[in-house]
């Protein structure tokens, strides 16, 4: 339900009855979710609950099995004509993917490119921005995540926290409408988590629309405008983070929170 979204702002992301099957496995079971422009939505839940699949369906790494995903009002992956869905061409889908930036649990930086090379790959190869201009954009983005001096380093010369910040800069360089974070700190050493969370916090403060899957409950409470609890492929409960964490309504949410808090 969208009672937490500010009604006067257009929905940045809209999911209507989204299902996803992997063979016989029913990973998402009818997800309805509205995320307003500038809203930060944090998604929590046990592993295997479909949180990552949800993000992967939004940016079309996975094709949804039923329902609709809209970003900025545009239907994703399909063209709806005369009541039928027509699959879009790969080119059109690639173009739609530019609307979303994705940050992965395991960074997935390109190991054969420097930090700056990773960041400018999208602008140069996809947006066709001239290299000199792209480098300027890339340096700005690296500065934004606090990595000004490390542009010539290769990923394996960087710490986990630095790698994840490069990955965030790489996503931001494409100027996406929505940023998707898939457990961005789960693969990090404890002392490196903070530097990545700080970058995400700044990003949230800048008004970026974000969906953040995380196990950092404290951080989720601090940064989230809205919290979604998922279990077994459904949204069990959603609400204002502080309220939800203080007084979860569902027994499943209570059970989960009692384990992680």
């Amino acid at each position: 339900m969208s009672r937490h979204a500010t009604p006067d702002r257009a929905a940045a992301v809209l999911l209507e009855g989204v299902h996803k099957f992997f063979g016989n496995y029913h990973a998402l079971r009818g997800i309805d979710l509205t995320i307003a422009k500038g809203e930060v939505c944090v998604v929590i839940g046990p592993s295997g609950s479909g949180k990552s699949t949800l993000l992967r369906c939004i940016n079309q790494i996975e094709q949804i099995s039923a329902g609709r995903v809209r970003i900025g009002g545009t239907l994703q992956g399909y063209d709806e004509r005369n009541g039928r869905l027509h699959e879009l061409s790969p080119r059109a889908i690639d173009r739609q993917r530019r609307l979303t930036g994705m940050v992965f649990q395991r960074f997935n930086l390109f190991p054969h490119m420097t930090a700056l090379g990773n960041v400018i790959e999208g602008p140069v190869q996809v947006k066709r921005i001239p290299k000199a201009e792209a480098r300027r954009i890339g340096r700005d983005q690296l500065a934004r995540v606090g990595l000004t001096d490390l542009e010539d380093r290769y990923p394996n010369q960087l710490s986990g926290g630095q790698q994840q910040r490069v990955a965030i800069a790489r996503a931001l360089a494409m100027e996406p409408e929505v940023m998707l974070f898939d457990e961005p700190t789960s693969a990090l050493d404890p002392e490196l988590v903070g530097e990545v969370l700080d970058v995400i916090k700044d990003l949230a403060a800048s008004g970026m629309t974000m969906i953040l899957v995380t196990h950092e409950i404290g951080f989720a409470r601090e940064v989230g405008d809205r919290m979604v609890f998922m279990d077994h492929g459904t949204i069990v409960e959603e609400g204002q983070p502080k309220q939800m964490l203080a007084a979860p309504k569902s027994t499943r949410t209570q059970a989960f929170l009692s384990k992680v808090l």
Partner: protein
């Protein structure tokens, strides 16, 4: 005993006196070196002063015109056949990983056939190709010919040798390339998709450079194998390569050993040059992973 300031390392103004260590000795190594030196000297002596090796004949023919031409032809066969093999292998890998089941099957059958039959047999077949199919033509099936040429205009001995070597090799390379691509984490493709890169661009910019890192060492192996495999082209028969040239001379002068040494010398020389090239290729495609520039501050 510490011998003064040389043994001191500095870190933020603080002087650290490094341990003064007597290194562990390895007397066994010196014994082994001495023994090996004796053996090597014995063997070298036995070969160099041995009249049966006819070193005068070796030097006489080492740079003989037919030998040099043979080196050139062997190199050319190797390079062109390898290029044919690489192009075919790339196409085979793309077919093998495609969503089209027909392309997948064709790729599988190609690899099955060319890997499963001996190279020598394949070269014999390509040599007989012009006899088996006298005309190459485009025609209506079971009907009249539209356009055609005599096969021996197209499939000359050189072309037959290149096709035989190249197509056989493509099957092996296809498997090496496939392994190289499979070794890449799926997250690489997903990350590239997430910034909106197209399938072709992902393949060219993200996957291929990473795959080449693992593909190059075994492909270097295959290239060296191919170099020596060219010695089999007499099956076609192709009669200009290094092995045939040195054999022809030894049959004429009744001295096979020095001519074998000439051939071995040139094969070894070419292999050495190729290994240098491979070193630089590996360094290029290993950047960021195996070959990381030194850290700066």
């Amino acid at each position: 005993m510490a011998s003064g300031h040389d043994d001191a390392a500095r870190d933020e103004g603080q002087k650290v006196r490094l341990n003064d260590v007597v290194p562990h000795r390895h007397p066994g190594r010196w014994v082994a070196v001495a023994l090996l030196a004796v053996v090597v000297a014995q063997v070298a002596h036995g070969i160099i002063v041995n009249p049966n090796f006819h070193w005068d004949v070796f030097w006489q023919y080492l740079f003989a015109p037919t030998v040099m031409a043979g080196v050139g032809w062997t190199l050319m066969l190797t390079v062109i056949a390898m290029l044919v093999a690489i192009v075919c292998a790339v196409i085979l890998v793309l077919m093998r990983d495609s969503e089209n089941p027909i392309l997948r099957t064709v790729s599988w059958l190609w690899i099955w056939f060319f890997r499963g039959t001996p190279l020598y047999t394949q070269l014999l077949f390509w040599g007989l190709f012009a006899v088996l199919f006298p005309r190459l033509s485009i025609s209506v099936p079971f009907g009249p010919e539209i356009i055609g040429v005599p096969t021996d205009w197209v499939v000359t001995a050189g072309v037959a040798a290149i096709l035989g070597l190249g197509l056989c090799e493509s099957a092996y390379l296809a498997e090496i390339f496939r392994a190289g691509f499979r070794a890449i984490d799926r997250g690489q493709t997903e990350a590239a998709q997430a910034i909106g890169m197209s399938k072709g661009r992902i393949w060219w910019r993200i996957l291929l450079p990473q795959a080449l890192r693992t593909i190059i060492p075994p492909t270097g192996n295959e290239t060296i194998g191919m170099l020596k495999g060219t010695a089999l082209v007499l099956a076609v028969p192709f009669t200009l390569d290094l092995m045939f040239a040195t054999n022809a001379i030894s049959n004429r002068i009744y001295l096979p050993v020095p001519m074998l040494m000439v051939a071995a010398f040139w094969y070894l020389a070419i292999t050495s040059v190729m290994m240098i090239g491979q070193y630089y290729l590996e360094r290029h495609f290993g950047r960021g992973q195996d070959y990381v520039p030194t850290r700066h501050a």
